[in-house]
């Protein structure tokens, strides 16, 4: 099966027959059931906790608390969160454990014979809390009067800056200056499979956790850290994963369930333990796309050449860092857009608040940055009366650009390519086609005079792979099978940890191996996502797996070919792919090479707005992507269409309400993700294949790319239709009406 052609997914039959087992499906018959009790306290000190009634409750086997975690701390990049809040921790934690800073901090795991018994016993926990003052948003946290982590003197715990040229002089040289303050909202991942895990002690005495996540080796590392054991004593494997989108990158049940299994083992109870979250527990209990406030200025000459960019970014990290420092980096890089900017001052800050942590979510800061950069460019075009794509073409980054971090860009910059292709497909001068009239409510037919059509554009770029000097790598193992006298292997086994979150990576890797070895698809057997069989692949994130895992399997095949040629039967090949090293940015100037590869995208959005009701319908999206090489075109289009649907929800309907550190709408009936009737009526994917010099067969990555530019393209189309700029979203009917009213349209 050649790369560049469409094969059936390796997991398709299991998924259409109901045989695919997600983490809540493969629960052993004799498993114990666990409930994770949240503190339900956005900021309070635990004064006392009495578990005696819980322990005495029928069916209860044990309770697990801070006392059971050898090193009671967690964090993907900073250890700033206790695994459990409690009064009796071991003292080996870098963060005080008696204070709850988030409503979903964990307090106790109750283990019982049945789920109903565990639930009943959970309700009997007797706690006394001393309420503490709240700094629940950026505005209240900025003053540092209330500290989220009192160990430090400020809530503003991570800052980045760019100083390029002279932004003051650059602004003075400008003929026009565009200024705006942008409010970026939270977003809930709303993967349909909520968190669940089963844990046990395996036959080799390893603490074993089966769950769904994005990176088995990271899960293992975090568990081993908390348990203070060697990583070899922990095994993590993934069941089928029902969506992740960044929301399963941080730990949910991994550590607490490992601690629970260990405690059961120590009590001599040789049974598995299972826990599954409800939808409400899932929404309350995991991080969100960050909310942020960005104030930006863009200076340009009357010919549309950018003279300077200034930006102040405030990223609400919530109570714990999660990956906020990294997300901030991406937002920081993208806030000036995909353009040549001779002078820049950008100050970006992540700030702790007593609120839900922000963390990874498809795009990882990119959608927030691009909303600012592209809104500014669209406003500039309109102010100058210029074609918005011509304006972008004049300023587009190229292979010769120094970039915002003054270090040049990885070869193969595709900004002008995607702009050209987008303009060719959707010329800005072209009349909008007539789309059918619409009304969201069938009994209220739209009034034709209230319908306005508009078109908007946006352009962007997004890194592929980990950034800022992270030791990026991906491992693969293959084994060739065949007889000693055979010239070629007849069967290959592939061992890889890449997480199949739905994107199709297991299919793509199988296809790549089959093609590289010259076998058919069915002759490759994949064994995936188990720390006991596969090397460290890194995470299913940053649009990195096609590039990174693709290169790793190519390397492993090459190694196995050598062994095969030397006569080894079976012939094994192991490879650890490492891309060019990236750099952390200079703390003063922001200079450095943060990334080794980018994907490039441009979008045109046509929409209709009913100015009487404020409803928006997106009629067509043209999404242009330079992907390097489409390994599996049909799955690639699936990524584009899926990302646009999620970005559509982000832009138009998804509104997470958080008040005083508490999520007010943790249900899918209250938090509205798009259905088939809501998504754009038509999505046209335009795939460009300018090979990346380092990508496998030239492939870059695509999974996040369509997300980046969608919101600003929609707001530009809304301006085109109705003459209003909206600097925040979701663009709910009430928000649209409010803006229309103040603009008197």
């Amino acid at each position: 099966m050649a790369v560049g052609t469409d094969s059936a997914r390796v997991d398709a039959v299991d998924k259409v027959t109901g045989l695919a087992l997600y983490p809540a499906d493969a629960v052993p018959k004799d498993a114990l059931h666990a409930v994770v009790v949240f503190t339900n306290q956005p900021h309070a000190r635990l004064v006392s906790m009495d578990l005696s009634k819980t322990v005495a409750s029928p069916g209860v086997v044990t309770v697990v608390t801070a006392a059971d975690v050898p090193v009671n701390e967690y964090g993907l990049t900073l250890f700033d969160q206790p695994v459990f809040i409690g009064l009796d921790d071991t003292g080996r934690s870098s963060v005080p454990c008696d204070v709850s800073r988030w409503e979903a901090d964990h307090l106790v795991v109750v283990v019982a014979e049945s789920l109903s018994e565990a639930r009943r016993a959970s309700a009997l926990i007797d706690t006394e809390w001393e309420p503490l003052p709240m700094a629940s948003d950026v505005a209240s946290a900025k003053a540092d009067e209330i500290l989220v982590h009192p160990g430090s003197s400020t809530n503003t715990y991570h800052t980045l800056q760019i100083r390029k040229g002279d932004a003051v002089l650059g602004m003075e040289a400008a003929d026009v200056i565009i200024e705006g303050t942008y409010e970026l909202p939270h977003q809930e991942h709303a993967y349909l499979q909520v968190e669940a895990a089963t844990a046990w002690i395996d036959e080799q005495d390893r603490v074993t956790v089966e769950t769904s996540g994005q990176w088995v080796h990271e899960d293992r590392e975090q568990i081993a850290h908390a348990l203070a054991v060697d990583e070899e004593e922990v095994r993590v494997r993934y069941a089928a994963i029902g969506g992740a989108f960044g929301g399963k990158e941080d730990m949910s049940l991994q550590i607490v369930m490992a601690v629970t299994a260990r405690k059961l083992g120590a009590l001599g109870i040789n049974r598995s333990v299972h826990c599954g979250w409800s939808r409400e527990e899932s929404i309350v209990g995991h991080h969100k796309r960050h909310r942020a406030t960005v104030t930006a200025r863009l200076g340009a000459t009357s010919e549309g050449f950018i003279t300077a960019v200034e930006a102040d970014v405030w990223l609400d990290a919530g109570a714990y860092n999660y990956t906020s420092n990294k997300v901030l980096g991406n937002l920081h890089l993208s806030v000036a857009g995909a353009y040549n900017v001779p002078n820049a001052r950008i100050d970006s800050r992540a700030i702790y608040t007593h609120s839900v942590p922000g963390g990874a979510f498809r795009g990882f800061g990119g959608p927030q940055g691009a909303f600012v950069a592209e809104s500014q460019m669209n406003k500039l075009a309109s102010k100058l009366g210029m074609d918005p794509m011509e304006l972008r073409q004049r300023n587009a980054l190229t292979d010769l650009s120094d970039g915002i971090t003054q270090s040049g860009l990885p070869e193969g910059v595709g900004v002008t390519r995607v702009i050209d292709a987008c303009v060719e497909r959707v010329p800005p001068s072209e009349e909008l086609p007539e789309y059918p009239p619409f009304s969201p409510i069938a009994s209220l037919p739209a009034k034709a005079e209230q319908l306005r059509q508009g078109r908007g554009y946006a352009v962007g770029m997004k890194n592929v792979g980990f950034s800022f000097g992270f030791p990026e790598a991906c491992e693969a193992d293959v084994v060739f099978h065949g007889d000693a006298d055979e010239e070629r292997p007849n069967r290959v086994e592939l061992f890889h940890s890449a997480a199949e979150v739905g994107q199709g990576v297991h299919t793509a890797l199988t296809q790549m191996v089959a093609y590289a070895v010259g076998l058919d698809f069915e002759s490759v057997d994949g064994f995936f996502s188990d720390t006991s069989t596969g090397g460290d692949s890194g995470s299913a994130s940053a649009s990195r797996l096609t590039f990174m895992a693709g290169n790793s399997v190519l390397g492993a095949v090459e190694e196995a070919e050598k062994a095969w040629a030397d006569g080894a039967r079976p012939a094994a090949g192991h490879f650890r792919y490492k891309p060019p090293m990236t750099e952390a940015l200079d703390p003063e100037t922001g200079e450095g090479q943060p990334n080794f590869c980018y994907g490039y995208m441009a979008q045109a959005v046509d929409l209709t707005v009913d100015v009487g009701t404020g409803h928006i319908r997106v009629d067509r999206v043209v999404s242009v992507h330079d992907v390097g090489k489409a390994i599996h075109p049909q799955m690639l289009r699936g990524q584009i269409e899926g990302a646009i649907a999620q970005a559509h929800g982000y832009t138009l309907s998804e509104q997470l309400v958080v008040e005083n550190g508490r999520i007010q709408n943790p249900r899918l009936s209250q938090y509205l993700i798009p259905g088939i009737g809501d998504v754009p009526a038509r999505v046209d994917c335009v795939i460009l294949e300018a090979a990346d010099p380092l990508g496998p067969w030239g492939a870059r990555g695509v999974s996040e790319m369509p997300y980046i530019t969608y919101a600003p393209a929609v707001t530009a189309a809304l301006y085109d239709a109705a003459g209003i700029w909206i600097n925040k979203f979701p663009l709910t009917p009430s928000v649209v009406l409010e803006h229309l009213a103040s603009a008197e349209i």
Binding site: D6, K15, Q193, A240, G243, G502, G642, A645, I673, I676
Partner: protein
């Protein structure tokens, strides 16, 4: 009936009658998944919004998370496990979702398959509008629905050609 007390409930699932001992308020979704081990029926929201838990009851799509098991005693219940033929041959909706990549993570898929199956068994030549309306109550967070729509169209096509 008493909420705590257990009762014997007769469930006819995929053509087989089975007995389940459960409290009166046992949801059909829990009975299928827990008591009968039919975990192909997924639970995504627990209150009727996502459609992941859709099964067919006497041929009509029903949200098993909103249905008490006792309420469907002796009715014909069909789950995703009952779609393929005994020899493993895929049902046209399964074949079509596979062929058209109507799935990514696959968590929503059983619900879509059952909903599409009900549509196509009633009407094997649905219009685009009828397809949209039939699946408008099922959520998918991964695909953007384009391939799901194509898969339903394709399933109807396979069904029509099978009939010929």
């Amino acid at each position: 009936m008493n909420a705590e007390e257990s009762y014997e409930i007769r469930l006819k699932v995929n053509g087989r009658t089975q007995h389940v001992t459960a409290p009166a308020r046992r949801l059909l979704s829990d009975a299928l998944r827990g008591e009968l081990g039919l975990t192909g029926t997924h639970v995504g929201c627990e209150h009727g919004v996502c459609g992941c838990c859709t099964v067919l009851v006497d041929g009509a799509p029903v949200r098993s998370c909103l249905t008490f098991a006792v309420a469907v005693q002796d009715k014909d219940i069909r789950t995703v496990e009952g779609l393929a033929a005994g020899d493993g041959e895929l049902h046209p909706v399964q074949e079509a979702f596979k062929e058209c990549h109507g799935l990514q993570c696959g968590f929503c898929t059983p619900g879509f398959l059952m909903t599409a199956c009900a549509l196509i068994e009633q009407n094997n030549d649905p219009t685009e509008q009828e397809i949209t309306e039939a699946i408008a109550g099922n959520l998918c967070r991964c695909t953007g629905y384009q391939n799901i729509r194509a898969a339903v169209r394709r399933a109807a096509e396979i069904t029509r050609s099978d009939k010929r």
